[in-house]
């Protein structure tokens, strides 16, 4: 041990000469509050993401995609809301990292911390889903988010392919007993003929709301439906991007005029 005898006094002199003071307590408290606040915020955002995942997965869509001619891997990619799952994982990792930055976060094991974060996200996300938060957020994003139909909800893109026999859009008018006008995601108006079409028990055609069909596109934007499917589980806000849409639930034969 070769430590200078005057080490302590020299250090105190240095503190004196440089007018050093302990950093104020509020700085550390503020940092702690920010860390906890960011963690709580990320946990809530992660739970909202979980609510979106649950909202988008609320129907069993596998059979419908199979009938629509999807390939097995494509089906999985379309049914599972990959974008939101990736966001959910990122939020969980952020909460985990943030928790480790708290004063005693290091004391808890990776498995314990991750399990609690995931469990909280599932419980809170489930509650948000039951409260309709998933639908509210999906509708809001559908109306405004760029690339919504390609990244956040690629199912819309898959179903917006009339030449492949798949059509999705908002019903704007019922023109006959078995004929409807539909506005698709590109803003094209289609006449959909539903005579003789099979109807899924969950399917409803309501003016002002999205509907989905399997069938065949004909000339002049006519679409002969072979099957009336329930509307896709999410994305109803997307179709509201197009102005001039009727309010949902207009009576039959009532013409909607913007």
């Amino acid at each position: 041990m070769t430590l200078d005898k005057n080490f302590g006094q020299e250090l105190l002199n240095k503190i004196d000469n440089q007018h050093l003071q302990p950093k104020p307590r509020w700085q550390f408290l503020l940092k702690n509050y920010i860390v906890w606040l960011l963690g709580a915020l990320s946990l809530v955002l992660g739970s909202v993401t979980m609510a979106l995942v649950l909202y988008m997965l609320r129907y069993d869509e596998l059979d419908v995609y199979r009938r629509a001619g999807g390939q097995i891997w494509n089906e999985a990619l379309l049914i599972v809301p990959l974008f939101w799952l990736v966001c959910l994982i990122l939020f969980i990792l952020f909460v985990f990292y943030d928790f480790k930055l708290t004063k005693k976060g290091y004391r808890y094991s990776l498995v314990a911390v991750l399990s609690i974060i995931i469990l909280t996200s599932v419980i809170l996300g489930g509650a948000f889903h039951l409260l309709g938060v998933g639908k509210i957020v999906d509708d809001a994003l559908g109306r405004r988010a760029p690339f919504y139909d390609r990244i956040m909800n690629p199912g819309i893109n898959f179903w917006s392919q009339p030449t492949a026999g798949r059509l999705v859009g908002v019903i704007t008018q019922q023109t006959n007993a078995d004929e409807y006008l539909l506005l698709d995601g590109s803003g094209i108006r289609w006449a959909v003929l539903t005579a003789g079409a099979k109807r899924d028990r969950r399917a409803q055609i309501i003016i002002g709301l999205p509907a989905r069909f399997l069938g065949e596109a004909q000339d002049d934007h006519y679409f002969r439906a072979e099957e009336i499917l329930p509307a896709i589980p999410s994305g109803s806000g997307f179709f509201l991007r197009f102005n001039n849409l009727p309010p949902p639930g207009l009576e039959r034969d009532q013409e909607f005029s913007p």
């Binding site: 200078d4 250090l11 302990p22 550390f28 290091y106």
Partner: protein, 194 residues
């Protein structure tokens, strides 16, 4: 400033409070910890005594500046060691470039502690035995060397080591076990008889 004679009765936490009222009381913390932290620096990194002293000064300045961040639910010594460790790690590369000799400085007392804690045979020639132990510690990975130093040379509890290296207590336990196993494996590989 509190009279010198009465500080022996005071806990670290009480001296911290007194330092926040009068900076001169920081001298008591320095005197209480300078040798311990100096040895700790020399044990976990291969730096010259001059570099270790510079590092020690930086560590005490950091402790002083961050006194208001000390969490009273922890032991002050754990907090001080954690700052020392962090400071050593952050300057490690720079200091290691000028390093010479063994990875750690080991005193005779330290040799005896390792021998008894790792159930090794005590040799008559302590100097020779010390050289062999240093050779093995040199060959160990940094994280293993660090926990062995904290456990057997600094004689810290699992909870204290957890608070110093910022890892869960279970991880500390398995790191120590692995470090002991590595130490014994090195013994066998280097054909060293103790």
């Amino acid at each position: 400033m509190v009279p010198n004679s009465s500080t022996d009765q005071l806990s670290d936490e009480e001296i911290v409070e007194l330092t926040l009222q009068n900076k001169d009381n920081f001298l008591f913390i320095i005197n209480r910890y300078k040798v311990k932290l100096y040895n700790f620096i020399r044990r976990i990194t291969k730096v010259s005594s001059e570099d270790a002293e510079d590092l020690l000064q930086e560590i005490f300045l950091k402790i002083y500046l961050n006194l208001n961040d000390f969490d009273r639910s922890l032991k002050f010594s754990s907090w001080a060691y954690a700052i020392a460790r962090h400071q050593v790690i952050s300057r490690h590369r720079k200091l290691q470039a000028r390093a010479e000799g063994h990875a750690i400085a080991l005193e005779d007392e330290g040799v005896n502690k390792i021998i008894s804690n790792l159930d090794l045979q005590k040799d008559l020639d302590l100097a020779l035995q010390k050289e062999k132990i240093l050779k093995i510690l040199d060959g160990l990975g940094e994280k293993y060397r660090e926990v062995l130093v904290l456990k057997f040379l600094e004689e810290k509890s699992y909870q204290e080591i957890s608070d110093i290296i910022k890892k869960p207590i279970g991880t500390v336990g398995s790191m120590i076990n692995r470090a002991k196993a590595e130490f014994k494996k090195e013994l066998a590989e280097q054909k060293i008889k103790l």
